[in-house]
Subunit: 353 residues, 2 copies
């Protein structure tokens, strides 16, 4: 019996509604596999936890998480009660950085039967490899003066090591996919970091002669996600640019509610973390209409990460079938509740076995 120990952090808002759904699905995978076990330990770390404890997680939080095979996270953030830059930096970004989850990967693809926001999109299937440890997300900087004279200085830090790491990951991934890497840049406007980024990309391109390369400025690239998503295969982007592109990727799929993500620790020293792209969506909490597909597809990425790719593939094909059937939540044009979608996915998995 192969057992995976998973730390579940439902977090805030709909995170608490969709994580249990994905857990149900994973337990179904155990059944059909027969020789696989997922042991979940749940942690209540969230904005509400902060209200009580004045911190997003206990002092030994990271120590505790370290021993798990993976972290399965819902959504963090509820600006009504805790400012975002506190909740995120103390929990999400804290984990990403301390556990050296230096790569964030997020796929976006067309689904048959899914009413896209795009008019007649061609079949697209892209993946964004996002540098997840440095860049524009940085605590370096501060403010000077007060009142009308106040100036804020924000440093973005790009290291050769961090940049190369993300690009190597993208090139390797592209080799197993469409053999094309697009680099997101803005070297025409951002004077130091982006020409540096381009230089590293240029150097690495030479090491992967079989992979086609292109670079696009983030403004044009963001627009091209809308106008011709089918032209992309693997995209490599900085922390901020990857963040923006993957939300657009979610939008062109049909809803941010279905987009999955993985924060990958590539040196194997710490657990990786799996969390959907969507946020805590306070506006729909408690209505039973949160789309569970983002969290469930995220579970598929966790399965793949564990090397259980057969299980991962089965899960994705169950998601595809359910979308095709139209048993989906309102955000993608259906009428089903959160639970009904999950039930249908579980039925589908069982049926296909």
């Amino acid at each position: 019996m192969k057992t995976y120990e998973i730390a579940a952090i439902p977090g805030d808002g709909i995170g608490k509604e969709v994580v249990p759904e994905a857990v149900r699905v994973l337990h179904e995978m155990e059944k059909i596999h027969g020789d696989l076990k997922f042991e979940f330990t749940e942690f209540p770390w969230s904005s509400e936890y902060y209200l009580e404890h004045e911190q997003m997680m206990p002092d030994d939080g990271l120590e505790t998480l370290k021993t798990f095979d993976a972290i399965f996270l819902g959504a963090v953030g509820n600006p009504e009660i805790v400012p975002d830059h506190i909740s995120l930096w103390e929990l999400l970004i804290n984990i990403r950085r301390n556990f050296e989850q230096v790569i964030n990967i997020r796929p976006a693809r067309a689904f048959q039967g899914l009413r896209s926001k795009l008019a007649n999109p061609e079949d697209f299937d892209l993946i964004v490899v996002r540098e997840n440890s440095e860049g524009e997300y940085s605590e370096v900087g501060g403010t000077i003066y007060q009142g009308e004279e106040k100036i804020a200085i924000q440093n973005a830090i790009f290291s050769r090591k961090g940049t190369e790491r993300a690009m190597h990951y993208a090139f390797e991934l592209a080799k197993s996919r469409g053999k094309k890497v697009t680099s997101a840049t803005k070297s025409n406007g951002i004077y130091h970091s982006m020409p540096f980024w381009d230089g590293v990309f240029h150097d690495l391109s030479n090491q992967y002669p079989d992979v086609e390369t292109e670079q696009m400025h983030i403004d044009a690239l963001a627009a091209s996600f809308v106008t011709k998503p089918e032209s992309f295969d693997t995209i490599v982007a900085s922390n901020l640019f990857g963040d923006i592109l993957t939300d657009i990727g979610a939008a062109i799929m049909g809803s941010v509610g279905i987009a999955p993500a993985a924060n990958i620790n590539i040196n194997g020293k710490y657990p990786s973390m799996f969390e959907p792209v969507h946020g805590s969506a306070p506006d729909i909490v408690g209505k039973g209409i949160a789309n569970p597909i983002g969290q469930i597809w995220t579970a598929k990425m966790m399965l793949d990460h564990f090397g259980e790719t057969d299980m991962g593939d089965r899960l994705l094909s169950a998601i595809e079938a359910v979308i095709r059937k139209g048993v989906v939540t309102t955000d993608i044009g259906g009428k089903a509740t959160t639970t009904e979608v999950t039930d249908e996915i579980i039925r589908q998995i069982a049926e296909e076995t």
Copy 2:
């Protein structure tokens, strides 16, 4: 006779093809007005100019431009011959900064009869007010070490003055439009500059009690441009975020080829500059298929800026009519050439008089 002296800089690539078209249209406006004159002086400053002179414009370039009522620019940049960060910083950004064109405005709206990239978009009509003088576009920063140890540090600079200026502009504009301002932020990830930005927005909101306000993180906002553009009225954004949003705005309209822009000098000390959103598009140069609408709509923004709003409105309604008729270039689903579209717009203006 009211005369406007305009410096025309066609620049690179299709800039040289569409500027003359817009000039033709403006001469037509002279005719129907009867008491208006546009005097154009053309400057060959471009990447090709750089090849010959090792600079994008002569030393006294800014001195020369200063005396004009406006600058009418096509597109700058041809990375095949001059690296973008040189061509742009020496010409476009140089002019924006030295002429204190601290605001960039770019509308995006649905056009009847225009095949949008979005599936059944509702009627949308938004405008992005972009801070155009500081922020993420900054020469402050540099690199340290070489090879594997190299680190690039990029500073983004946000001043209270610059931020307030852009926000005041947005609030004032919103008062004459839909009375709603959306602030583009990323204070959950970018630790210093964006919480500062939010603070200024919060302060100014209180000064405009009649204007509804909202703030969204740039990732979610970019996605919402795709999923519900009709929910926006006026958006205020930093230099980089505004840049990204306006390209998405162009994409959801149907093509970057139709999107206009204005770089506004708000203190009246220097000329403002009018340039479409699209770039020099080397791939379609010489084919006669460049969409002239971006440049022509940009001319409408220049007319409005001169206070010739009646002329501006007429020009826009001619553009609308031509789009409705489908006399458009291939990028928006038509078969017309650059010249044919312009001819049709001119015919339309003459007819409507």
